[in-house]
Amino acid sequence: MNKKTIATHIEKTTLIGQRVRKPDAADKSTGKTRYINDLVLPQMLYGKILHAGRPHAQIVSIDTTAAEQLPGVHGVLTGKDVAGLKFGFVRDNVALKETVRCEHDEVAAVAAETEEIASQALGLIKVEYKDLPGVFSPEDGRREDAPLIRGDFPGNKSLHFAFEHGDLTAAEAESDIIVDNVFKVHHVTHCCMGTSCAIADFDNNGKLTIYSQTQYPYNYKMDLAPALGMHPGDIRVIQPPVGGAFGSKLDVYPYEPIAALLAKKTGRPVKVLYTREEEFKSAPTRQPAVIHMRTGCKKDGTLTFRSADVLLDNGAYTSWGPTIPVVMMRTVSGHYRVPVIAYNAQAIYTNNPYAGSFRGYGNVQTTFATAQQIDMLAEQLDMDPIEFRLMNAQKPGERTPQQAFLRECALDKCLTTAADATDFVTRQKEYGLLRNSDSRYKKGIGIASSIHNAGGAKIHKSDGCGTMLKVDDYARATLITGASEIGQGIDTVISLIVAEELGIPVEHVTLMNNDSDLAPWDVGVHASRTTFIAGEGARRAAVKARQQILNAASTFAEISADELDLRDGFVVRDKEGSIVIKLEKLLRQMHFQPEPELVMVTDYYEPNSEPEGADHISNMSAAYSHAVHIAEITVDTWTGEIKVDKITSAQDVGRVISRAGLEGQTEGGIAIGLGYALTEDMQLEDGMLKNPCFRDYKVITAPEMPELDLHFIEDGCAEGPYGAKGAAELPTIVIAPAIANAFYNATGVRILSTPLSPEKVVRALILAQQADVSSSDSMATAAVS
């Protein structure tokens, strides 16, 4: 791409930072791509799950006789079939339940010839329940007289995390201003367009092949095995194309072992595919939380401390959601230079749906609080809002209290870039002065920033990735990696990197990454790690292959390997670009010479980071990055509708690898963040979801998408491939507080809970008006509840 062949010379160009077509895009555009949802295996049965449809109950009796006798039904399973097969982060879940702890709990499952028969069979299962009093908020769940959801977790207490650094009492005493608020963030869900699906198939040696949407195939085997009473080594994971994941496929959910158990029972492949209603009710959520945060600073603007008490709604089971405090505390302690930290987070079991991981992973929730408090302090100090942020912004080489090493740090550049692009300071003043006008429509501008790991996250013993690369006799490269493609575009990134190093067209690189029996270890698509880690692994493997090829060319042409380069399918002299030999010809010569050699290399890349550890003091990522969003909004004070006119984003990406892919990830991340901020809301009443459909659960659609102005800061990174950093989560993280700050700028009213729905906006404005105060924290808190 972009290389010119001039007679016998080829000039040097680079693919890094170019716009490269996604390898699977043409097939996806024509409907040819066979997603997991489309797959049908010979002899396949359809599995359907009976959900409890009540939040908390004992199953008194269950009668499956009629279902089993229905023609076309091949197997029925209930809780007694899976007794003892516990799985999950703290082994608190089973595939089929004997006690119901949330609405979607799986009570029975059927495998039948058709979906229709399976559904009919579910209707024939008779279950007698004894309903139990439930717990529907973490505040209620920790009360002494609260119903106990699980006997083995006293006080309904799930995971707990804490981190302290410095003398809080002294820091409070030396603070001139302290802001103190309670923020409340709500339930949202991923809404992958392809609903959850698994296809399980056993061979006659007892080995399970599971076709899965998972985004972490290796740990998935480990997590799935106990739910089946199997050894992880006896599970093969195939990953067909998926309709989105966004973190939702970073755990095992009951439908997956159910598919496998039905396959085992019937001796036939079994597919479980959710309806959209099931997806809304049964897929994981983003973790809701109540965050009591305090931040202090001196008169001169220096931050003194930050404390956060976080209460999380665990839901009925512990997936990855309740581990988000690990990421939350990194932002509490690292979002600007905060010398003293007191952080405490407790997750409480409730009878609500349970949270998994979701793009942004706790940082979406925390940044909603931190970025609003920074905004409040700037106003109370009466300082230039950008100057205040810049004076507290960390610099390259600094460490956070948790020992995150900010080797490269471009927060200041992100701040000035976004502020300059929007004329932020002037416009914030102008809009603030207009806030008490009689106009129905009020304009506001708001800024928010955050930090996120951008070089993996060593939450396991390893954060590494294995890579294998072969270059065949036709100069076609095949790269085998553990890194999964879930639509995010790692296929483009890796193909581009291999093509860059080997001097071949991107289209001549094939990626194999969808079979756990084939691909080596990887930790999975999470923590914005895949470009950084799998990309670096691909680069290292490609460099090895390149060196092998250049050495062979050197022998062939009697020119030093240092003076050779690979371009456009040829070996050339590096300086002049003059052609030495066609690459595929050289590869065949290497193969068919008296001492034959093939180009087959391997690499294992483990990033230079330290395990998170129980004390949470470690450099857990090989790089960190910052992003700043500025939101410009128009508030309709009559209807409460917030229209986002424009988002200006400045993000430290180290270096752009796949430009169109990075833009797409940023734009899509912003859309998910916008939904969180404004429109998406799982309406739960006593644990029951009232809006399990797109009609009533509003994701952002094309008309709501604002104008975007994206700025990528490319200051490089010592460890990432070509200087790149991970980038996919920050766009989702920063947007909600930018809008909340813009809303304050427009109206003088603070809203401390998500989403900023029209109803909540109107209520907040009316309350503020009634109290005849244009800006009051007590009013804001009232608006929250």
């Binding site: 077509r21 996604k22 959209r276 169109a660 899509g668 994701v699 659609t701």
Partner: protein
């Protein structure tokens, strides 16, 4: 329990077809399960997301909401019918070129709707395209590159 079946004849992607379908089956299920045209996607089943969009006698419809038997005597075009020979349809090519495809699950419906908009709106601009796509949900792209792709096709026809 099996519902009554009936035979229907219609034109599918330019070719006449005859199928026997249960009278309660929707068009989406017929396309996917009976005719193996899995490019048209199920994502909500109630006409809210647009992933199952097809052309019916030139109009676009949510195929999940229409009975299969109502295709009788009519002309259906699915995403598989857009390509001519080995050449991608200009919209398909534009979506590929502009990076408008990530997971791609919504894209067939998106392209079918775009095809209708481009064909039927001489004054199509970015604002009208936005409006015209409001029934198509995408969770990956933030729509920006989708709008870029469709706009480029509109501009190239002028």
């Amino acid at each position: 329990m099996m519902s009554l079946k009936t035979q229907i004849n219609f034109k599918l992607n330019g070719q006449p077809v005859t199928v026997t379908v249960p009278v309660t089956m929707n068009t989406l299920t017929m396309l996917r399960d009976e005719l193996d045209l899995t490019g048209t996607k199920y994502a909500c089943g109630e006409g809210e997301c647009g992933a199952c969009t097809i052309r019916l006698d030139g109009k676009t419809i949510n195929s999940c909401l229409m009975y299969a038997v109502d295709c009788d005597g009519r002309e259906v075009v699915t995403i598989e019918g857009l390509k001519s020979g080995e050449t991608l349809h200009p919209l398909q090519q534009a979506f590929v070129d502009h990076g408008a495809i990530q997971c791609g699950f919504c894209i067939p419906g998106m392209i079918m709707q775009a095809d209708y908009l481009v064909e039927n709106n001489p004054d199509l601009d970015r604002a009208r395209i936005r409006r015209g796509l409001e029934g198509n949900i995408c969770r990956c792209t933030g729509y920006t590159k989708v709008l870029d792709a469709i706009t480029s096709v509109v501009e190239s026809r002028e």
